[in-house]
Symmetry: C2
């Protein structure tokens, strides 16, 4: 398959060590001594462990208890062996539930089953090991860790905003993984436009996107490829609908690479655009370009939202109603800060964002450009490289 | 790409109508007048609507309020237009939150934003419309619907088991979609073994699986392709590890097709198996074969578990410790009944299962065969068609 970008040379073991160091540095400044991370993304950040089951089952629960110098992974018994394979110490696994690993000699992993009945009981053990007299930050104020820490006599503080801040400023290795995930998604859209012709189905376009992501080592996670009036539906699955001359096609696609997300948007037209298509596209692109132009450290997320809406309206789409015009991206597809009204968070170097100015007009069509970038000392470093003008597919 | 099975000719619009009819028939016999479905799978079952965002965001919430003759979809405003595009009436959308669709003329969809602040408030409206004097079944006893129904003066009953029973016995169209998802996953493993040779990486094997799923219109969702000692890790992501002569490779892979899951397992060896590999494989396969042989309507799920464990131990793996040896599969990858101790649920024609007898021995390796089937009037109709003997990849 052509057009696959070269994979980044990121040492994932070193990256995990770097993330852990960043987390520990932040912990030293935090209003608590230890933190209980409860989202799969923060647990991956802290430990390097990405659970297969965690992405499949809504009921799957884990926690990481992190102190200044140590870390315990509280997880279903089935997660222990792959976590240890990934580099975590076997004696820092605190398993719950029933799953059986065998081995030639008994080990902590072969007796992981039924050590604790549930997450709560395992957390009690982990918190006892980490220290009962500590102040604990709990991400998401998830019930079990908060209760288990409180039961152990610890002080409990909400650490949700804190973990978002720690993860929000990316390390260089994270930036490279996010850049690759973005260019891979972009290559997917390019591949779709290469096979595009009159009559191509949304499903065939989506398959071209997903096949490119897979060929580059990515895991496709959402592939919105919609044509004609369906391009106005925001997030919708592709169907067998055929692309017809004069119609828009809108792509909003993302994949995972080493746990990091992409989320990019592109629009194309089959045959020459009419005046309204060209005009509206120029308006949304101007909005995005103004976002990029004003982005630098110290600017508030809400200001980036305001400039997008103001510009799109000035360029001719009135009203331009949006709840957000972008979002942070990293180990989660949406991370704080969200680029929306009232978000006063100041941009910092190392923050990674998707900026977007989508427009959804039912009956007519939808269009968007969504780009991914990292904030630098002076402005932005844009990950996506496709030409910005409206791609025209020959009829 | 070769080896892609032909896609099934299932009319998805008719299938949605058939599922709705089945749900309504079951409702007529239920100890409640209306049901509030709260899982994405049951909502898809009842409405045909599969939310893109619902699969991406843990915090995404929806509900379907279903009465004998009507149905309301309670959903984020962004989900309204794609749901209506999929065939639901615009006046049966009860949106919450903020998202903007435009159109030439105002419609219920262009004013979906901010109609209700949250799921709870939207449910109050839906339940008022459906009837406040009714008895409501609530799936998962999710807090908001239970509270909203109770606040409206309705009687509230747990409908979790009920919805599992309704969805458990599949319609013919569902069986065909599940069969296709399974043979697509199986074709993926076959493609991986075709490119396999000494030194192939786990990631390359996984890419061959995922590429085949994509080429057949599936959405890869988990691709466990692990070699050597890593094959013992149960669910683990593939790495750059190379497959070496004498080692096992274990595949446990699944994709989505039209919302239906696959989950199949296969094991291979690079070069001729040694006596222990051959013997253990014969034992786990015998366990699976005995499961298939004893399956018929009226048999309890726990009996199918027992025969698997008893057979694998009799054939030489002692102890053979497992928490389950299979599970229902459908719009969720694990559905009741689970094939585990104490599950007295009797098998019925139309129930679809994955049966599996995996064995994970740390340091040595792991092996499994996992097959998917539908229970028939006489026994089983097996979806997977690969040869059952241990595949040997030439060194």
């Amino acid at each position: 398959m052509t057009g696959i970008p070269p994979a980044p040379a990121v040492d994932l073991t070193k990256l995990t060590a770097d993330r852990t160091a960043r987390l520990r540095d932040a912990l030293a400044e935090a209003p608590f001594d230890a933190v209980v991370l409860t989202t799969p993304e923060s647990i991956l950040y802290a430990t390097g462990y990405r659970s297969v089951a965690g992405a499949l089952f809504r009921a799957h629960r884990m926690a990481a208890v992190v102190t200044a110098g140590d870390c315990w992974l509280v997880c279903p018994a089935a997660d222990t062996a792959p976590a240890v394979d990934g580099g975590l110490p076997a004696d820092r696994m605190v398993p719950f539930g029933r799953f059986y690993f065998e081995s030639a000699e008994p080990t902590p992993l072969t007796s992981a089953a039924d050590r604790h009945p549930d997450l709560y009981a395992a957390l009690e053990t982990a918190i006892k090991a980490a220290g009962t007299g500590l102040r604990y930050g709990v991400e998401g104020l998830a019930a079990e860790p908060a209760l288990a820490a409180a039961a152990a006599g610890a002080t409990v503080v909400d650490a949700t905003g804190w973990s978002g801040q720690v993860r929000g400023v990316k390390l260089p290795g994270e930036v490279e993984l996010l850049r690759y995930a973005a260019v891979l998604a972009e290559a997917g859209v390019r591949a779709a436009l290469e096979i595009a012709e009159e009559g191509v189905t949304e499903q065939a376009l989506a398959e071209a996107v997903a096949a490119t992501m897979v060929a580059g080592g990515g895991e496709p996670r959402f592939v919105v490829a919609t044509t004609g009036p369906r391009s106005a539906l925001a997030d919708a699955h592709p169907t067998g609908r055929s692309w017809k001359p004069g119609e828009l096609a809108r792509f909003d696609v993302g994949c995972l690479y080493a746990g990091y997300w992409s989320d990019i948007g592109r629009t194309a037209v089959l045959g020459d655009p009419d005046a309204r298509q060209a005009g509206h596209y120029a308006a949304i692109l101007a909005g995005l370009d103004e976002q990029l132009a004003m982005t630098r450290p110290g600017v508030a997320a809400a200001e980036v939202f305001d400039v997008a809406v103001r510009t799109v309206e000035r360029e001719g789409i009135v009203p331009y109603r949006r709840q957000h015009c972008g979002h942070g991206i990293g180990l989660a597809v949406y991370e704080p800060p969200i680029v929306s009204p009232g978000v006063v968070t100041a941009l910092e170097p190392g923050m990674t964002f998707c900026f977007e100015t989508p427009y959804y007009n039912l009956g007519w069509g939808g269009m968007m450009v969504e780009d991914t970038l990292v904030v630098t000392g002076e402005g932005v470093d844009l990950f996506t490289r496709s030409p910005r003008e409206l791609p025209v597919v020959a009829v």
